[in-house]
Assembly symmetry: D2
Homo-oligomer: 474 residues x 4
């Protein structure tokens, strides 16, 4: 995988939060800048000046959405921020987050990373009680729940989060509080940092690094962290369940310079590469990563195998959002425009290509063609995870089961389809052994089909989104 | 008044609706085009394809917001549209209408012209029951009410409209219905037209003219009109009250080529001018209108007085949204850039200047200066309505009482402030006599202070708006 | 005529200049603002800080092109400005003016209103001597001539202007001089004003009015005015020829609040209307202008005839640049969207419609249809000039001879084509009699075919433009 | 170096040309896409349809400037294209290329990579003969020369190119010809490809790869290649001089997947790294490249030294054009936002950092700080070229001599300034030995001060540019 638009897994989002710094919105801006890889469709920041909540959102990259002028208007010392991923067609400002409203107790703003699996049920119940919905976002459901509960904010919050099922790493902002919460399974990462007396929350530690915050610890699965005038406190209102942290954050999503679930992503990837070399050795002249996601694993493979590492595929750093189609077909244009092989490194050589994963197989197929055209004598692909055979319902934009090549084809058939001399996937056990943290703490449903929690409303959700995607605004 | 930004009364909006035409969104586009004078801040169209409701909104003029591409996507045969006025600073896409949501019974979209006076009470009650609010718009309150009622759509609709107080001329769209409703007092205009088998609803008849629809009749005060597969039907669920139609639509707001409340605006204005000449004759050489709003009345004044009419102040048709300030002060720049006097017509002449109204008096003051500089020997102002001394709570963007010059100054003091040789206002009785329809059917609260209905939450409303205005999105 | 895009005559441009004011660029901005009716395609200002010349141009209205930021960069005390008209399709920034270059003697910038008739010959000669051309503009030719002459700037200037033939009212800027020049025939207007010690040059006096400059006098036909450190001086290097001032400036182009060729446009138009009433009386109930260009003449017609004046056609002030086409044909949409008749004024009435001119006749035709649909009993058109039968080569964007309806049809046939009860044109003699200045000083070629100077290269010019129009830049 | 804006060397441009393909403009688009690293300020394509030349240019990336619509208008079978680098402030569309004009013999369009050193002399001479200049571009000078010569196009071309001195790798387009020319020293690269019967010209072979053209050969230093209806032919009209190819193309500029001067850039860089390891061995735990420019050399260093290679500094791929400044100073923000160190790789380790070059030293300094903060025990920098002590006049945007850190400081002082444990530069001899082609064929003036040709007008050029940079247009 690695490069593309058409055949890549996508994050559902990144979140950030900060409490107690006069420059809250600006720091949120930098936090989001460091989390930009988790979502490029839209960006938003909400800030509290202790009287009301002010929110600014827009389509595009953080650096496109925000400027001196609009940041200046975001005054206050508590802020949350959000970046959202892009799917073709659904570029709707309504679905940008944070989602901000006024309800009986004041203002509330929510930024959500993850995906709930009982949204439709909850919406039906809320609608039955008179709620109206403007978007298809889970954030809107969460806010409705909080508004429809009784009691103090904290009571409402806990009651609401107990009702939702699925993946949520969220930051919540009110006039005087910053909340961070992670679902009981801990599907998506979320960490706590400290910076000049202020508390920060971020999806990944690289956001802390940029603003020079110190990593304190992860928000634990099932933990609700509340920061307000009384300091920081922790609630753990959920029944304890087996953690199910997304292993794909280590394999592909997170930045290699981040720590996730308490351990280095870079090192985890290198170990995946080493393990791959141990499990599936091959005689070859060169180890090539698919940049940039395969680079660390390729270095690990080289370390274990002794086969020299080369950066034999070059990434073009000036890829625009779209490119024009030539009238005469240029073969493999979409792939070549992003990643061009270095002929001199490949010609007449036996190549081991390190991929993080194979989704539909179509991108891999054209990539291998470009290597063959560059003269590769043999191409052996090594993949740093087992075959993906099941969709994800917890926050990754996987294709449907039907589109996943490994769900219906044998490895041998995939090898032929892609045009490889050999194709080997890392074993489930091997992958888990390579992990830097407790190997029983992961969700591996995309490989095994063992979903940590039941999916209640998959079908309806897609219909819902489709309906709402038709409503646009500029 | 007439020209400006800084010292003009502003509409709160214009609405349009159409049922039963395959080209519904396009016809709504033209309907809004003809209603553009009622609001230039934002424009939106919602359309039903009988399965769901699709809405597109944007900031700016109708012709800026819509293009072939986005209109093509608005498929369906029922549509409503909305234009919203502009106040400096609050250009927020969230407040653009129609307001569209999904609730328990399906999709609903509302476009509102007018202003409710019990919004805050209703919001507090709704919030107490768990509702959340994203905007400060009355439309959102109306939708919440409909969603929180029980029974059929029609039952919910009637129950909801019974709960709101104030001015509403609204169009509502569901998957299979077009609704038009006018509050019991009939504050703002709303009419029904017919076009190629389709029913239309519009704030003014000029919108019907443009698309070649025939005027059928006005929606009556207190009437709810529902158009659906069963045809058109009328509900009158409200207790009968004295009508209180906005007289300012005749004086200033409506297009002169429209009919309002069943009679011609052009003729009404001419009669105001005639009445003014009868009440307040003056010896002068020339009658000049403040273009364009004073033109018809000036023609009437000329007709009655025999003093020649001249178009002695020329309007610049290329006024941009803003202009640069010169570093060295140019006197009266803001006024002159829009309206320039014709020296040769004014020099050494006694001028009667016909104004529709005086709000703060500041624009009139600089306008008179420019006439003096052009050589006017005498300047007599005649105003086509009585002094405005009270704010409007029913859909006109009046300044507060304090800012209304006539609320605290005598006519003589206003005359001096503006720098006139004489200043005469039309009397209340004279104004009502000039009206082409039943003179007891009007709201004259801005002149008399006799508000047709009690204002429940003025104070809170402004605070509410201010809070929400801070939340922006691009 | 009056309204439109498709069937209106268009100016070629407006020019402005100022010498000796620290806020030169800002004052040029306001001067252009007042001249915006002379050109809406592009706007530009060049300014000298005595060291070099700085120029900023852009597509669109003056208020679109300039903002605080780019005006701030235009430092200096001498400036010239230009607005350019819009023709569909040729929106090319290359053709925006002022045209600014560096040549052997320093910087030079030229803004041109008018049209040369020996451009192609000059270009061929210049190209033969090695010149290169980037645009199809006459300004570029003028600059090339100045650069290729010898001697002092003044010598070069005079020698160059002697070589060009046709219409030119130009302003020229160098590091230390402001030049204004008008061709020997004086085709296009150009006047001198004074403001706080600074000299101004403008196409029309309304530009002087806005910045509160005093009108001094017109630049005379054949005069070159140079303003520099030594004061203002005048050169008259051309052999004296009969003046040939464009009469259409009085009939249609100039703002009614301007003085042109030393006399009021408003009064000239009124007199045209009076003359029309004397020449072509008619029994009717109402005199209606086609707004806004027919308004003054209609007032004159009313004065002479005693038939009441009504503003019976209402202009929509919110016309965007384009509008969407409806899928189902709405009759006369293009006309109605801009000008809507007031039914109550027209129904069952005999109408005299005052037009400034008829070009192709197609717009008039649909306009008359809308009046008939509004119930007009009779429609009599009176035109304030004779039939236009010849194209203009001196700065007006006339259609070709073939497209001019009067060039091939009798008045009776035009009457039938347009659908009138009667159609009368003002006679040539009547038109000239109505003029406020020496009636032998006008160019009437579009009516008579007597071109004041021979056209040398009409054919080639169009080919030239077509070639260059294909070169675009954003 | 590598990343940044503030402290990086910049290309002056990339050029492309194609003859004989119906889809010429589209192929030029892709050619420029692959050359985007050579210039990001502006992009332009000129195309000939055999009758005239049509040119479209814009500010920004190739993918920003061009879209389906404007490419569709660029019809023809011969095209040239250009990308231009960005310097802060001078974003002026006038300086975008190709530069296209009409002269006596027809249309001509020029795209230039390089820098002439006798521009001012030539301009003065041309101005003396009457030429006018609109830009500060060398391209404009070249076109003026061609226009002012006599004889056939070929004669004019040769005579003109003989007059210019300095670096030029240009493509020229006329109605029926494509020309490619390289100055006698061959300062900048230029190669010929073939594609489906069409000839291509490109700055680097990666542009040929993308459109699947086959590399034929380089345009030789001093060669003019003309492609027209008679096929391809070669002129060598210049006296033979010693080649002086820019060695920095190998060190830093060219894409690693390109071949330059006939040999692989990737391999050249690896050999530089090996040579560096041989010349300046060091005891260390890890070799880290400054991505992406140092990567290949770091792999070579690892190969030779045996010290493990790690991708220990991570590049953020979502860097916008600007970022907001935080109100509270975040240390090293500008560097960290682009390149973040991986703590786990660096902590407590001895690091060898491979840089391609050091310009001002300021970026290196903050980069080293971030490594120290990440825990590096020792940091040894190895640079793949000798100290840069002289500016470049042949097409690289070097700072002035004064700003080059090595021009006034000893290596030891630089080491201290940057904060290194050791700093070693590759020797001149070592660098040349590592080159894959004749080591006497390079320009090494920036290291040695031995400029291959005399600089005639350095001083004036900067003044010229500064003057013209002030003239802007949107």
């Amino acid at each position: 995988m690695g490069i593309g638009m058409e055949d890549a897994l996508k994050h559902k989002c990144g979140v950030f939060g900060i409490y107690g710094h006069k420059d809250a919105a600006r720091l949120a801006y930098f936090g989001l800048y460091a989390l930009q890889h988790r979502g490029q469709e839209s960006a938003g920041i909400a800030v509290s000046d202790r009287k009301s909540v002010n929110c600014f959102k827009g389509m595009g990259l953080v650096s496109d959405v925000f400027n001196e002028e609009n940041l200046k208007d975001l005054k206050g010392d508590i802020a949350i921020g959000h970046v959202r991923y892009s799917t073709s067609g659904s570029t709707v400002i309504e679905n940008a987050q944070p989602f901000s409203v006024k309800y009986s107790e004041g203002f509330i703003s929510v930024a959500h990373n993850g995906n709930l699996v009982n949204t439709c049920k909850l919406r039906r119940r809320l609608e039955r009680d008179g709620s109206i919905f403007q978007t298809s976002m889970d954030s809107e459901v969460i806010v409705h729940l909080i508004a429809s509960e009784n009691g103090s904010f904290e009571e409402r919050l806990v009651a609401s989060l107990k009702k939702i099922k699925g993946a949520f790493s969220i930051t919540i902002l009110t006039e005087d509080k910053l909340v961070a919460a992670r679902d009981p399974n801990g599907f998506r990462p979320l960490c706590i940092g400290k910076f000049a007396g202020a508390y920060c929350i971020a999806s990944e530690t690289s956001a802390l690094d940029l603003i020079e915050a110190t990593y304190v610890r992860d928000v634990e699965p099932g933990e609700i962290v509340i920061v307000d005038g009384k300091g920081i406190r922790s609630l753990k209102p959920f029944p304890k369940v087996k953690p199910a942290q997304c292993i794909f954050e280590y394999i592909y999503f997170a930045r290699p310079d981040s720590s996730i679930y308490g351990a280095s992503v870079y090192n985890a990837r290198k170990e995946l590469g080493r393990q791959l070399a141990r499990e599936h050795p091959v005689k070859a002249d060169r180890v090539l990563p698919v940049p940039d996601s395969g680079t660390c694993a390729a270095l690990g493979f080289t370390e274990e195998s002794g086969i020299p590492f080369e950066m034999g595929i070059i990434r073009n750093h000036y890829i625009g959002r779209t490119f024009i189609q030539p009238s005469q077909r240029i073969r493999n244009l979409g792939v070549k425009i992003k990643l061009n092989p270095v002929k001199e490194i490949i010609d007449n050589k036996r190549i081991v290509l390190i991929e993080d994963s194979i989704v539909r197989g179509t991108t891999s197929r054209v990539r291998i063609k470009t290597l063959r055209e560059a003269g590769a004598k043999e191409v052996h692909m090594r993949v740093t995870c087992p075959p993906i055979i099941n969709p994800c319902f917890f926050g990754i934009d996987f294709p449907t089961k039907k589109e996943l090549i490994a769900s219906s084809r044998s490895i041998e058939k995939i090898r032929k389809f892609i045009g490889l001399d050999s194709l080997k996937y890392l074993s489930l056990e091997g992958m888990l052994d390579a992990m830097p943290v407790d190997k029983t703490s992961f969700c591996t449903a995309c490989f095994t089909g063992d979903y940590p929690i039941a999916i209640e409303d998959e079908q309806h959700k897609f219909i819902l989104e489709e309906k709402f995607l038709k409503r646009r605004k500029v």
